[in-house]
């Protein structure tokens, strides 16, 4: 990306209950009530989580007809399934009869789901196919036909990534993803056979607001101080990192992306010493195949730059040493559930798969050498911001997100070690919770 394609800095100031943006004074602040307040989480529930497209799961999590998984999304229990005809589905995990949780197995394979309470049985295509003593209901009403499994209002699949919305109206998924699709495509295009989710889900809670996890992922500034022990480990393996040339790009609809060009290896795409000599030739061949399929320029972009993409509101995609997804599920203002998966090109060799698992595992997740320090950061912010709650002085109960505004104001591109990506998120969030735009 060259400098001329970078959008001019946003010079529109704002002063709302939650955001102060003043380009004259280079101020960007977020009011900490945004992380603490029950009212805010209720507003978010109504204006974001009940409206927006939400990432549900990847279609390869339910590879075979009949496969299903329970998944809670925006607080609602769902069944994520592939029906017997091979179609990927989402159902509310709640019996249409009295609301009982219908499917109680966390995952499995089934042609039908039966509610244990009154033994109503539903096919995995959603129809009510069995009621004990059906003659007790009036036949002329077409009772069974209106008692099929309830579904989220909208469901769409973009290149294997499945999203649902609980609102019947609103922009299509493509409209919602907008220019973020370009970055999603760069990830999917790793392989001509698409991506698949590797078995084994990281599921963990953080004692912090969901937006702290968004800020952290769009914040290249924290990497060196927070992950100093991980960086020290990397150095012992011959890995080099540099922040030179890294960019933060604010996309439409609250999405944003950090681009890294100075970080080291990417499994199957860019070799580094940690990967071992055997991988060197294999990686070169991969990139050659990529170039013949997509052209030199696109192949080079896919292979040699890393990206962290945030899709508003609940998905982070890591296209770094390996490929990973992180789904955010707010529970309370100060508590968030996280689910994280590792993705891989479906076409890769067993050796490459093993390497990918080893390399990404050393970094990411609750047992990795880096993620626990991010979690420490979210949790320390959540505990720390209680100190300023209700402080009568006007500037005290605000978090500063102004880093890089001076460079941006001069027309320079936003760096990923500044806070432009975080500012983009907050502007959109503010517009949504103040009902200026719909999520």
């Amino acid at each position: 990306m060259t400098q001329t394609t970078i959008a001019a800095p946003r010079t529109r100031d704002r002063s709302t209950r939650f955001i102060q943006e003043d380009w004259g004074r280079r101020i960007f602040r977020v009011n900490r009530e945004a992380f603490r307040s029950e009212q805010v989480i209720e507003k978010e529930r109504r204006l974001i989580w009940d409206r927006s497209w939400l990432y549900l799961g990847h279609e390869t999590e339910v590879p075979k007809p009949g496969d299903f998984k329970q998944r809670i999304l925006a607080g609602r229990p769902l069944i994520f399934a592939r029906d017997s005809t091979g179609r990927v589905r989402a159902y509310l995990n709640s019996c249409p009869h009295r609301g009982t949780v219908l499917c109680r197995e966390t995952e499995g394979n089934a042609k039908t789901f039966q509610c244990f309470y009154h033994a109503w049985t539903f096919s995995n295509t959603g129809e009510l196919v069995g009621i004990p003593d059906p003659g007790a209901y009036p036949p002329e009403r077409g009772f069974a036909a209106e008692m099929g499994l309830r579904q989220p209002a909208r469901f769409e699949n973009y290149r294997g990534f499945v999203f649902v919305s609980f609102a019947a109206d609103g922009p299509s998924l493509r409209e919602h993803l907008a220019d973020a699709r370009e970055y999603l495509d760069l990830m999917v295009d790793h392989s001509d056979q698409g991506l698949e989710v590797i078995p084994g889900t990281h599921m963990y809670a953080i004692r912090g607001n969901w937006k702290l996890a968004v800020e952290n992922a769009m914040d290249g500034y924290h990497f060196s101080p927070t992950h100093v022990t991980f960086v020290e480990y990397l150095k012992t393996t011959g890995y080099v990192t540099s922040d030179e040339g890294g960019r933060a790009i604010t996309l439409e609809n609250g999405h944003s992306v950090l681009v890294f060009s100075g970080h080291g290896g990417r499994v199957g795409m860019q070799w580094e010493p940690r990967f071992g000599d055997a991988q060197k030739t294999l990686t070169e061949q991969n990139v050659k195949r990529l170039a013949s399929r997509l052209g030199e320029e696109r192949a080079n972009r896919i292979a040699s730059t890393s990206r962290i993409l945030y899709l508003f509101p609940n998905l982070l995609l890591f296209d770094i040493e390996g490929l990973a997804l992180r789904q955010l599920e707010p529970v309370r203002p100060d508590f968030t559930d996280v689910r994280a998966w590792e993705l891989a090109p479906a076409s890769e060799t067993a050796e490459e798969r093993e390497l990918r698992i080893r390399i990404l595992g050393s970094f990411i997740g609750p047992g990795g050498l880096a993620t626990p320090d991010d979690v420490e950061a979210y949790e320390c912010v959540q505990r720390g911001i209680v100190a300023t709650a209700g402080d009568p002085r006007p500037e005290v109960d605000w978090s500063d997100i102004s880093r890089g505004m001076a460079r941006e104001a001069e027309g320079q591109p936003a760096r990923n070690v500044d806070e432009a990506g975080i500012r983009g998120f907050w502007r959109h969030w503010d517009d949504v919770v103040s009902e200026k735009v719909r999520a």
């Binding site: 078995p199 084994g200 599921m203 100093v228 020290e232 559930d337 093993e354 626990p372």
Partner: protein
Amino acid sequence: MIATVTRQEVEDFLFRDAALLDEWRLDEWLQTFEPGATYEVPTTDRPNEDPHRSQYYVWDDHELLSARVRRLKSKHAHAENPHSRTRRLVTNVRLGEPDGSLLPVYAAFLIYKIRDGNVDQFVGRYEHILSTEGGRLRFWKRRAVLELEVLRPGGRLSFIL
């Protein structure tokens, strides 16, 4: 050549392991691993999956385990600085069928992790493989399998399970 190992000897080994970790004596603890030994923690939804093909919470070869110990000893391992208090209860110890000098060992664990006003419990089972070479017990594979459905409310395995 292959010494007979009693359950009491295995219990002594496991109790010392718990004490070394609770007392944060990580250099001594690392010495209880054979060179080439591994430490692994599978995910809660796929405890029986092969780590070569699936995501784990922890899948350390000896080199990464050594790096993990180096990290935990650093004051910059923020998630464990200050250290959590931990207390490990290890019980229900059973010996498996030895394979040469390798002895499978099973036990139940309950680990209390206390920090920042929270008491988090991690309950599960050990499925270790110990090397009994020369009558001395050492880890060949240290495997902790959590019974938790989700890491909740405490969501980090920043300490050793």
